[in-house]
């Protein structure tokens, strides 16, 4: 079911133009059909009697955005950045501060009053997401200037460090972020249409971007920095671009998360949050968009389904009265198994494409015919 795009060199010049045109027609029609089906499925989910179902569905979409943001920098560019939680925090706080009603803001800032223009300012939700993303991207630029010069592991620790500095700043900037008290009553704007709308937009962007000349340059940087540089790819420029776009998307995802949760606090954006997203990316395959999308569903729904483990268990010979957190132990153990034994994740760097699916169906049909003849 996967296309044969296993490495970058092939993906650059393998498809002859005629095939590509054909594939495009297929893809557009099939994608449009899929979108229509998705719309009806989502409407069905939204109308579900169980309130938990639409909630989990929305979380899936938010996790898609967050995972793709991280996949762009870690999977496609090969830069092991651990700063996602910080950028998410920036987006989340921006959206929260710009959408909470002024009256509620006044009652929330008990220790010190909120800074001037923010006390009455409210903006439409979509705009706040973009502003949050832009602030995160701007911050990524400032962080990237020193950090992107560093090598592998050092870069991981340095970005992790900046993410923690952002969190410490949020905890201490009382008049801006309400410090350790966090923010409450964020309007629930993260509807199913918003979350899936953003998720689809991000998927489309990623699909176009990673196959563009910029995207191919990023993959070249991932495969071999020195070779890429000698082919005329500016390392710093491309790394910075990837880092900033990734931060922008993480900021947007953070904004969605804030609206989804209703309350946010600095505690939400610890390193653990980065690890959560990283696990989705690794499970799906670093450098695969479809992998991240599917893994976002698998992990989000899987975590909910494992919730039974937190409750009382009766296996006949062994009983527990319910241990809170048990599901996370099982989940993290499963994850460890995936990483140790299937380290390329579900998809590796492959993608699920319409042409790949069609080709596989044709192959299956072909095999069937040949079987008849024989």
């Amino acid at each position: 079911m996967m296309s044969e795009r296993t490495n970058t060199r092939e993906s650059i010049s393998k498809h002859p133009p005629s095939v590509k045109k054909n594939v495009n027609l297929y893809s557009v029609v099939l994608s449009a059909l899929l979108l229509i089906v998705l719309y009806f499925v989502l409407m069905k989910i939204e109308g579900s009697a169980n309130a938990l179902v639409p909630r989990i569905a929305r979380l899936c979409a938010i996790n898609i955005v967050l995972a793709l943001a991280m996949n762009l920098i870690n999977g496609f560019t090969g830069i092991f950045s651990l700063g996602q939680a910080g950028f998410m925090a920036v987006g989340a706080y921006t959206t929260a501060l710009l959408t909470i009603e002024p009256a509620r803001k006044l009652s929330m800032y008990i220790v010190t009053p909120i800074v001037k223009p923010l006390e009455t300012l409210t903006l439409p939700f979509g705009l706040t997401l973009i502003i949050g993303g832009l602030i995160a991207a701007g911050l990524a630029f400032l962080i990237g200037v020193p950090c992107l010069r560093l090598r592998g592991d050092y870069l991981a620790i340095a970005t992790l460090g900046f993410s923690e500095i952002i969190r410490v700043f949020i905890m201490n900037a009382q008049s801006l972020t309400n410090g350790a008290q966090g923010l409450k009553s964020i309007p629930p704007n993260a509807t199913i249409l918003w979350t899936y709308g953003v998720a689809l937009a991000v998927i489309a962007f990623m699909a176009l971007f990673t196959t563009s000349s910029y995207g191919r340059a990023l993959k070249a940087v991932r495969e071999d920095e020195i070779a890429a540089e000698s082919m005329g790819v500016s390392l710093f420029k491309h790394k910075m671009m990837s880092f900033m776009i990734s931060a922008f998307l993480a900021g947007v995802g953070g904004g969605l998360l804030a609206a989804y949760n209703g309350t946010i606090g600095q505690d939400m954006f610890r390193v653990m949050q980065t690890y959560n997203v990283l696990m989705i990316v690794v499970m799906g395959g670093m450098g695969s968009i479809s992998g991240s999308v599917i893994a976002a569903f698998v992990v989000t729904i899987g975590q909910e389904m494992l919730r039974v483990l937190d409750g009382p268990i009766n296996l006949g010979f062994w009983k527990t009265s319910g241990i809170a957190g048990m599901r996370m132990v099982v989940f993290s153990a499963l994850l460890l198994v995936v990483i140790v034994f299937f380290r390329n994740g579900l998809f590796g760097t492959k993608e699920l494409t319409w042409s790949g699916i069609v080709r596989n169906i044709e192959k299956l049909a072909g095999r069937g015919k040949r079987g008849e003849v024989a």
Binding site: P146, G161, N172, I323, S332, L336
Partner: protein, 297 residues
């Protein structure tokens, strides 16, 4: 700031710095051999604290027995992590083993939450170690002086082990050149396991001293010290045990003195380590005592 206040901060910095040094050695030894940031080191440290606590609270062992058992179990936990999560990935790309280390840390934190509960526990006070004494113009717990003493003792022991014993020599050989060491007949698996054993044992000692100094134990108590001590190891030049100690001292003193001189900004204490890291990496990319290596094409 008066002289006695400065002395007070100074002794405090000395003990914090020694703790950082103990943990940083574990990072630097593992990095030296596997080129791996052992993200789980902070969690192994956290488990050590719980082991020591439960040895006394649940099994009513005398404190020194409990401490020794806790150090041994912590060391074995480090070896187990290597055996189960790192060894299968030794020939995989370095990024995979790094992710595996992150997953181990994630697992241990969740596991500790279930096993020991999420509510903070109070580490026992050992009167022999924690009594406050008058030392000239300042009042300090005995621990403040015991911590550096224990650290120095262990460092001397470690240097002896690394320089004079066969195992230590094997460790240095593996960290210098992995493949050549294997060709010389060094048992890689044993040497790497020993590295984890010693590094984790030092983390266990650090955990107990940390628990005596900051008695609150929670499942996430290891993550911040873990990251900071990795930074200490980088500051000193990763892969170099003397460098790790130096880095630990630089970091410990920088942090405590920052809080001492700018009490208003004490909320930003945790940011000091990261700013220091960025500064050092930009000026001296290989750390204070590290050798600069250029990558071959």
């Amino acid at each position: 700031m008066t002289g006695s206040m400065f002395l007070q901060h100074f002794t405090n910095a000395l003990s914090v710095a020694s703790l950082y040094a103990l943990l940083a050695i574990g990072y630097t030894m593992v990095y030296g051999i596997l080129r791996l940031i052992n993200f789980a080191h902070g969690e192994i440290f956290m488990m050590g604290m719980y082991f020591a606590y439960f040895g006394i609270a649940m099994f009513h062992l005398p404190w020194f027995v409990s401490f020794i058992i806790a150090i041994i179990i912590t060391a074995l936990l480090g070896v187990a992590a290597e055996r189960l999560a790192y060894r299968p990935l030794r020939d995989a790309p370095r990024i995979s083993i790094l992710i595996s280390a992150i997953a181990v840390s994630y697992f241990l934190q969740n596991f500790a939450t279930v096993l020991f509960g999420g509510r903070p526990l109070m580490f026992q006070q050992i009167p022999l170690l924690t009594t406050i004494m008058q030392l000239g113009p300042i009042r300090v717990p005995r621990l403040t002086l015991i911590v550096p003493a224990v650290t120095i003792l262990l460092l001397v022991g470690l240097q002896f082990l690394l320089k004079k014993t066969k195992t230590g020599m094997a460790m240095r050989a593996v960290s210098r050149d992995y493949d050549a060491a294997r060709l010389m007949g060094i048992d890689l698996n044993f040497t790497i396991a020993m590295t984890f054993f010693i590094g984790s044992a030092l983390a266990g000692v650090g955990a107990i001293l940390w628990g005596l100094k900051y008695p609150q134990i929670k499942p996430d108590v290891g993550s911040m010290p873990g990251i900071k001590c990795f930074i200490a190891a980088v500051l000193g030049g990763i892969g170099n045990t003397t460098g790790a100690v130096l880095g630990g001292f630089v970091l410990g003193f920088a942090e405590i003195m920052f809080v001492a001189f700018f009490p208003a900004a004490s909320g930003y204490r945790d940011a000091v380590a990261f700013i220091l890291l960025i500064l050092i990496l930009l000026v001296l990319p290989a750390g204070l005592l590290g050798k600069n290596t250029t990558e071959k094409v």
